[in-house]
Every structure is written in structure tokens, then in C-alpha cells.
Amino acid sequence: MSSNIDYSTYSLEELKQARAAIDDIEHPERAQELEERIAQLELPENSSTEAPSTGASSTVSTASVLRKGKVSFHGKASEFFSIWIVNLLLTIVTLGIYSAWAKVRTNRYFYGNTEIDGHRFSYLANPLQILKGRIIAVCLFASYFILSAISPIAGAFMVLALMLFTPFMIVLGQRFSMRMTGYRNVRFKFNGGFGDAFVVFVVLPFVSLFTMYLMLPWALKKIDEYLVDESAFGDSSFTTKLSTGSYYVASLGAVGIVVAVFLVGASIMGFGFTSLIQTLENGAPLVMFTLFAMYLIAYAISSSFYTALIRNHIYESSEIPNVAQFKSNVGVLPLVWLRTTNVIAIVLSLGFAIPWAKIRSAHFFANATEVTVLSGIDSVTSVNTGSVGATAEEAATLFDVDVALG
């Protein structure tokens, strides 16, 4: 037994456990090494922040850092291309029915190739659940579409009804997609209630209309706060402390970029608004094209600016106490580059570059994300294994709506 165990990879918690377990008489040299390493680690650990133990559970008294690493994504464009094209073919041939199976395969591919701390995610939805949700969604959408096309008056009522209905759809969708995400054989969970959802998704944005949108960044913050705070990994909830200031910086910056792009665009082309109308009569297509291009540029830069800032801020300020901390460093310019080249590639390839673009984006975001795993990670308890709240869960599976969290 020539065991030269490398204790350097061990965390403080693991070292202590190993020390307690080891036989002093049989392996004195190992016991000594362990003690030295514990002493070494304990020194900075104690002097630095002793992790404000927010309701530390009985099993884990201190949340020591186990490991820290980037999210790794293992997907390959060539491999996903063949999955995608077969999905597309079967979806077309079955007139859309296979799209439920296609969605499961696509999500399984992306979840299963995303790895944090040596473990991969899994997507657990059953295609039949999604098919059921899609059939209902198609019926609802078709009746809405036809009714509003046939009668503008009924359409206006439908829009109102849909607005009131949206929070419910979001909550049900969020519940579904969290429940269908697993990591280390523990499912995620969304605990958000309908009342809160109604406030953040309908009331606050509506009220912000009357403040000339000045309140909107704060309302956006409340939405993100709601979505993160109500999420949980097993029985461990996410907590977040978002700053309103960051949302104002991101929103004002995004608006500023749009204004700047149009000002620069107009001055480069060298005409004011009046001459623009005159040119409209002669070279209409050129002007239309330039305006369209300016719109695209403004959209690409300002949306990337907002996404990057807010994503970084959310990750920085959120954690699962005792289980994990997050960090995101998405750069604005790299994101602009990623999105622009993706769109160009997709247009030039007539859509065949879609799988490549999706894999590339997943790599990009994984690379920009860092997760610190804390010692509580090994003892997160699974919830909802049984049939608790069967009706709500059943209803949740009816709608398959995704809300992008950026």
C-alpha cells in the first residue's frame, strides 16, 4: 500500500474529516501531514471572514470553500448539428408533433454537456408532458390569433386578458422548467406564488408607465429579484441582494447607446431630418436600408450592454447559502461580437449555422461563469420526490413556457 495521497486538493472540511478517520499508529506520517495542512488552512480561514453563517444547518456549521471553477461546456457544433437536423426533419414530417421530443433532446444535450464541479446537469422532462402543453398552447394561441384578427374589439379584450394571464403562465412555466432541471440527482424548484408574480410582472410595470418609465429599471430589478429569490436547489434556496443603482446604470446606458448610434449615424450620413425626407423620394431603398442597419447596430450594442451588466450583477449578488456562490464576467464587446457574428453566420448560411451559433453561445456563457462550491453541496436534500401538491404540479406541466433569465 504505497499510498501517496495528495491532500493538497482537499478542503479544510475534508482534511478534518480525514484526520478524524485516520489511524495514528498505522499512519503517523499521514496524520502529521494532515495536521500541518489543517493548521495552514485554518489560519487564513479564521482571520478572514468567517462566512456570516446565515442560518447554518445543523450538519454544516461553517460554509468552507471546497472548490472554485469555471462552468465547462462540452457540446460540439458538429455533434449538435446532426441532432438538430434530424430533429428538424422529424418535426417537419410529423407536422410539429415531434417538436416536443426535439425539445427534450436539445435540452438534454445542452444540460448534459454543462458541467459544474465535475457533475453535469440533466433535463428531466418527459416529451409527452411537453406535447400536452404545446397542444394546449397552440389551441389558446390560435383562438387568440383568429379572434383578434376577426374582431379588433374582441382582440383588445384578449390583449387585456392575456396581460392579466401572463404572470400565471410565467409562474407555471418557471415551476416546470426548474422542476425539470437536475444536478447531482437533486431537482431545482421554483416556489414563487401567483400574487407576487402579478405584482412584479403586471402592477409594477404598469405603474412605471405613469412615471414616464423612470421607475422601470427598479421594476426590472424586482422581476429579477423575484425570479432568483424564489428559486431553490432541492431544499436550499437562492438568495439575492440586487442593487437598484446597477439597474439604472444598465438601463440608462442602454438608452444612451441607442441615442448615440442614431446621432453618429445621422452625422456620418451628413443630413438632418428634413433632407432625409427629401432623399426618401429619390433613393428610398438606400435610406431605408441605412435606417434598418442603424436600428440593428443600436439593438445589438445596447441589448448586449444591458445583458452583460445585469447578468454579471445578478450572478455576483446571488448565492445558495452554504452551497454555492456565483460570478459572471461577460464583457460587453465580446457579447456584441458573439451576437453579431451569430446573426451574420445564420443569415449567410440560410439557417444552417443555427446549431453552431447555439453551441458557440453556450461555450461563451459557460466560460464567463464561475462557481464556488461550498461544503454544504454534499448534503442538499431532495424535495418533491413524492406527489405533494399534485394538482398544482399537474397544472404546471400543462404549460411549457420558458422565461429567459439572461
Binding site: 425539445k103 438534454r108 376577426i150 440527482n185 453541496i377 454534499d378 448534503s379
Partner: protein, 377 residues
């Protein structure tokens, strides 16, 4: 020997394992050669107790001692449940009692789980001929569906819609338009009556369609839409005052426009367009769904291009309806060309080149179409 990880059902605990297939049985050995695993087990004995009781429950050899834990776990095919193979992903195998085994992909394991040939879908995804066929078939089928299938289904759909619905829809639309962008006509009563009488004769001559009695012509004044005319699905046709003024009240020219609008009504175009837009939106979102951000907005452009193509096609059909009716009435299709020319001279935007983004075909082409019909006489 396949390295893997065994996840417990109750919490996030993990054990490194080595899996193997021996005599058609899945054998999972806990890695206790690794000191680290053993340390972990010493601390978390409670977890192993759960394990042992689980196994006793499922009626297996309850031989997993918690002191040594060398006894491997054994499973038959019917006891485990695996998701189909996908790319080069690790295989996820659900064991009894909701434990999860995740193993690196290996041909041995694949064969045990999927049988000799492997799952059919994963075969399609990996075999070259299938892939080449998919790459060729997808664009072809998309073309067939969008160009042939959807318009065909839209016609069938539109024909199912009863007149009562079309009538309600038209009334609602007209009152919404009256409220928002239309005002009562300012043309002299006499002029309107004369035009109406002229239109009546035209409508009577359009025979055999069964819609003649439904055609009702209205005049409206509008700042917003300028010289224009449009048809509602129940046969209501609206002319703007500006259009009448533009052609100096020339009955022959207005008749040509009327016939174009009757063409829309006769061929049920508004209902078809609703169906076509609906089908196109659904198809695009389900065929290319699950896209995000910039790509999705590109899909939005794609969907409006598709819809504009459909509505361009309807304009051509209505034009050709008007032209053939004019011929039947022994009148000159050049009337239609004349009125189009007047409209295009008036309009600021002459048919620009990017016709993909326009709901109406280029005016020049429409004039040429009507004129060539005229010369063919």
C-alpha cells in the same frame, strides 16, 4: 470497466464507482481503493444505512456492509431505466429507489442498455446517409410546406368560415376603422349616387360567384391612408375620397379598382391571410423554436417576409381577377393599368427593389401585367 458516479435519491451525496457488465448484469463497485471515498463514507455512515435499507426493500441481497462496502451492487436490465443515447453524453441510468448512475459513454454499456443496434433516433443522428438525406430533405420539405401546403390548407380553412362570422368581423373592423382613421365622406351626394349606380351595373355583370348580393360600397374620407380602397371579408368595399379625386371621378377606372377588391372578396383572401399568418407563425416557432435574443428577432423578420409573400400572391390573384372580368365585360384591362399608374405617380414611394419586405407587388410589374393583358386582345 466504466468509471461513473452514483447519486443518492434523498440528497446530493455522490460516490465514485466503477461499473461493468458481467453475464448480462450491471455490476457497480464502490471505489474504496480511493482513500478519499472511504473517508467520506466514515463521516457519512447514515447515508450508507439508507442505502442498505433501500436495497433490502427492493429484495436484493442485503449484503452491502457499511464497514467494508466491498460488495458490489447488481442490477438486471428490467430494474434499470436509461434515457436514450444522445451524442457523446454520459449515460444516465435510473436505478431502483430513484438512485442515479452516471457513466462515461462506452460501447459495452450502450449495447447492454439499447440492444445491438442502438436506439433508432441516435442511429439517424450518427449515420452519414441519414444526415445527408436530412440536409437535403429539410429545405425541400420546408419549401413544399410553405409554398404549397400552407396556402392549400389556408384555402380549406377559409372556406369553412361561415358568412355570419365574416359579417360580424367586417362590422367590427369597419367601426374600429371609423373610430380611428376614417371620417364620413365629403364627396357631393350626387357624385356618390352616380358612382354607386355605375358600381351596381358592374356588380350585376360579375356573375356566377354567389357573392354579388353581398357587395356594398362605402365612401370615407381619410387623411391617413390617402388614395386607397379596401375590401372586408363580407363584401364591404371602402373607397377613400382621395382615390375618387385622384382619378377625377372616372367611372371606368374606379370600376377596375372595384373589380380588384371584389376579387379579394370572391377568393376569401382576408380569411386565407389569417390562416396563413397563423400557420406560418406556428410553423416557424415550432420548427426553429428555442432560439434566443437576436436570432429570434431575425425569425420575426422571416415570418413577416413569409406573410408578405402570401399577401403579394393575393394581390396578383385579385389583379388577375379584375383583368379577366374586364375582358369578360368587353372592357379594356388597360383601365386597370391606368389607375395603377395614377396611384403610383401620386405615391411618394415608388416600388422599391426589395420586394420581399412589401405586402404589395411592385406597381410597375402590376401595370405591365395589366397592359400585356390589354395587348393580347
Amino acid at each position: 470497466m466504466i468509471p461513473g458516479q452514483l447519486y443518492q435519491s434523498k440528497d446530493s451525496a455522490v460516490t465514485s464507482v466503477i461499473a461493468n457488465i458481467e453475464k448480462n448484469t450491471l455490476i457497480i463497485r464502490l471505489l474504496n481503493g480511493d482513500k478519499r471515498v472511504k473517508d467520506e463514507q466514515c463521516v457519512t455512515t447514515s447515508r450508507l444505512e439508507i442505502d442498505a435499507s433501500d436495497i433490502a426493500d427492493s429484495g436484493e441481497s442485503a449484503g452491502v456492509g457499511r464497514s467494508e462496502s466491498t460488495e458490489p451492487l447488481r442490477f438486471q436490465q428490467f430494474e434499470v431505466n436509461a434515457k436514450s443515447k444522445l451524442g457523446n453524453l454520459p449515460r444516465e441510468i435510473t436505478l431502483p429507489n430513484d438512485r442515479l448512475l452516471v457513466c462515461s459513454p462506452s460501447p459495452l454499456l450502450d449495447q447492454w442498455l439499447d440492444g445491438g443496434a442502438g436506439s433508432r433516433i441516435s442511429q439517424m443522428e450518427t449515420k452519414k446517409p441519414w444526415l445527408i438525406a436530412s440536409v437535403l430533405l429539410v429545405p425541400l420539405l420546408l419549401y413544399v410546406i410553405f409554398v404549397q401546403g400552407m396556402p392549400w390548407a389556408a384555402v380549406k380553412f377559409a372556406n369553412q368560415i361561415p358568412y355570419s362570422i365574416k359579417s360580424v368581423a367586417s362590422q367590427h373592423t369597419l367601426s374600429a376603422l371609423d373610430y380611428s382613421m376614417l371620417e364620413p365622406s365629403t364627396l357631393p351626394d350626387l357624385q356618390r349616387e352616380q358612382l354607386m349606380m355605375g358600381f351596381d351595373t358592374v356588380v350585376k355583370q360579375v356573375s356566377g360567384l354567389g357573392i354579388e348580393s353581398n357587395i356594398r360600397v362605402h365612401f370615407r374620407y381619410s387623411d391617413l391612408i390617402g388614395p386607397n380602397a379596401f375590401a372586408l371579408p363580407d363584401g364591404t368595399i371602402v373607397f377613400t375620397d382621395d382615390l375618387v379625386t385622384l382619378v377625377d371621378g372616372d367611372q371606368a377606372l374606379l370600376d377596375a379598382i372595384l373589380l380588384h377588391e371584389i376579387g379579394h372578396v370572391a377568393q376569401n383572401h382576408s380569411m386565407q391571410l389569417i390562416a396563413e399568418s397563423l400557420f406560418a407563425t406556428l410553423a416557424i416557432s415550432y420548427f426553429f423554436g428555442d432560439l434566443s435574443g437576436a436570432i429570434e428577432s431575425f425569425m420575426g423578420i422571416g415570418s413577416s417576409v413569409v406573410q408578405n409573400q402570401y399577401s403579394q400572391k393575393h394581390e396578383w390573384q385579385a389583379d388577375n381577377f379584375a383583368i379577366s372580368q374586364l375582358k369578360l365585360m368587353q372592357r379594356d384591362p388597360a383601365d386597370f393599368a391606368d389607375v395603377m399608374r395614377k396611384l403610383s405617380n401620386d405615391s411618394e414611394q415608388q416600388g422599391s427593389e426589395n420586394s420581399w419586405f412589401q405586402s404589395h407587388p411592385s406597381t410597375k410589374a402590376r401595370i405591365e401585367n395589366a397592359e400585356s393583358a390589354s395587348y393580347n386582345d
